[in-house]
Amino acid sequence: MTTDVHKKQIEQFLTFELANEVYGVEILKVQEIRGWEAVRVIPNAPSFIKGVLNLRGSVIPIVDLRERFSLEHCEYTHKTVVIVLCVKHHRTETFVMGIVADAVSDVLDIKLSEIKKAPNFGSQLDTRYMRGMHVYKKNMIMLLDVDKLLNPDELDGMDELADSISPDSEDFL
């Protein structure tokens, strides 16, 4: 079946809304979608990591994409969803993480040829996490590269950055 899809060069994407924009992630990465529920805060974590959640016995971190993309914050409502994703790291390790989105919209079949490369915004916008853009019914969908976006090293990297700014970073270890 998958090979069939491959032949036609079509991939399925799950789209969701975030501050009135539409984003998409590969559906094969999506493990499940669940409603927002309170999480346990992790001390001294970057602000976009809301905390950790109990997903049937394993503890998974939840990333708020609004904060990750520096969008304005909004209250979590009953429509707010958590999309649980399987993130591949270094090809072998897999991590399970959740992202908070305003709402889930649709599942789309997108031809690979119809995915446009994300334009270069220069330093204003980091497009590393973008797989590309797709126009669907005149709406633009930003397709995210989950593995890069939720790369655990990247989460570390952000933290180190914060550390290097703080003055007392020498006495590490």
């Binding site: 999480v39 346990r40 001294n44 950790v52 655990p152």
Partner: protein, 692 residues
Amino acid sequence: MSIDMSQFHQVFFEECFEGLEAMESGLLSLDIGDIDSEVINTIFRAAHSIKGGSGTFGFTVVAEYTHIMETLLDEMRDGRRQVTKPAVDVLLGSVDCLREMLTSIQNEEDVNMESAAQHQAALEMELNGTAGGGEHTAAPVHAAPIVVVVEAEPEEEVVVDEEQGWKIAFCPYLSLLKTGNDPVRLFRELSGLGELTTNVNIQDVPPFAELDPEECNISWELKLVSDATEAAVREIFSWVEEDCALELAPLAKPKKIKKPKPAAAPAPVVETAAPVVATESAPVVAAKKAAPTESDPSKNAPKASSSIRVDTDKIDTLINMVGEVVITQSMLGLIGENFTMDKVGQLKRGLAQLERHTRDLQQSVMNIRMLPISFVFSRFPRLVHDISTQLHKKITLKLVGENTEVDKAVVELINDPLVHLIRNSLDHGIEMPAERVAAGKPEMGTIELKAYHRGGHIVIEIVDDGRGMDKAKLLAKAIEKGLVEESTIMSDKQILELIFMPGFSTAEKLTDISGRGVGMDVVRRNIQSLGGNIDIISELGKGSTIAIHLPLTLAILDGQSVAVGDETYIVPLVSIIESINITEKMLNKVAGKGETFKLRNEYLPIIRMREIFNVKSGNATKSNEGVIVVVEGQGALCGFLVDELLGQQQVVIKSLEANYRRVEGVSGATILGDGSVALILDVPGLVRLSVR
């Protein structure tokens, strides 16, 4: 065909090692003198099945070797041959040799034929009855484990026979590894030319913080006994010519290499690696560093097998339990389908049943991970036998409670500390026979190794009837080393605890068995990392008892939940000393910053959980009163200021790293009764964090 066979290799090796263990314990019981034909039969059977198996799988070396052992055993079995101590020693040596052969084969390496041949010769000598006194045969056998090639190549030998060969100074540049070259491979090739001795120089290895694992900071001095030409040797190095400084000198002048630095090298390497593993989770780096230095005599640590043998009974119980749970679940489903209030009683009963079944199920699953402690204990009779012979002491080892079950992870991790403690007892605890007789004790010393359950813990005790510890001497030593102030008044227990201080060793002379002063603190750290603790009771002249308390499993922990703002944290119960209700006024500030609390004439540093974890939630106004949880971490007391204590409970430990990463000050997470997550505090880590 060979492909088909290889899938059975793992099973074959497992069975072989089991057989070897059976042989070993059988031989050790023979050692005492009375000949039990049943025991000889057991040993014979084990040898026979190893021979059969290795023949089937085409490991002819092993098969041939075992055949000779078998012949010897066969004669013993038929009573045609006396069971003598030398014979048993030779057989024990052969068991070691077989184990090494099998390990090499398992790791797909070449079998060290040299030591095998040596053992084989000893065996044959024993078999042909030419062995005059056993000492003869036993001596070379014992000196022959594979590592010898590195370690004990005695200098005299160099002087005695004029060896032909090369002395090679091999000093790779930092970039050697980056070019894809592996020194180990070079050494392996060199050893193909002749007998190779390696000496490693690790002076230039930088401290861990600056260490780049991709750089090769090690250099080697190699001695190759071979008739190979210079060109042949240089050819081996031709690939790395540009990445190293290479010096070749003929070996003819033995004087020059009188002291090619004794092979102390492997030991310090391991030591530098050890703290690396302990402090940072970077075993990969450590392994990388250690691997090339161990060089070609490859005594690789056997791969930790991740499989586990489970009693069929345990699995049957588990299946029964699951069946019960399914039945209860469908019953509850029926009740829920058209629920009316009059069914509440039924529902409650169902839920109670479900709870019971779930608890049972959890227990049976945990049971699967449980192994009898005899897995660890069974290695010790051999250890005691070997070391007591070496020390000329007479010691018996008694094992009690071998069937006590512990978690597999505990079994794996407790071995090294136990070996250390037993060696200590053998070396320092038990006196020489003459000394014992003079003190009015039986000549034969006894070490007892006990395991039993108490509460939710397993207790392992090592009891010896040796000389015990001299508290006055301990204290004097500690003062001399500057570990304690002279004026300190210490209880007996505190004095005994001194031996756990880093760098403390009272041994008058260092032996290779113990007394390096790096032991006991490591032992204690290992045990604490397993969530356990260690106690000593000792009476001068009568002996010592060392008791290790370990949690039954590493998957569950007794915790105290505490509230900080809206957050709930779990403090491991083992590290809590006490908890005190306080108000803000009871805290003192030192230099306006660090806070302390006066607890019975001692000043405790205070860590405010709210600040260190940046907790913003909850009402901060209440914070003028709270609870101080006094904990011990890193050997020092410390107080955690929290809002309130919630309750004690057993929690199942979940890894945060599995999906996220390590969090400073947090050792893991757990799931509370209401399904929410709580973080488990890493007490030593928090203490470190607060000092920063």
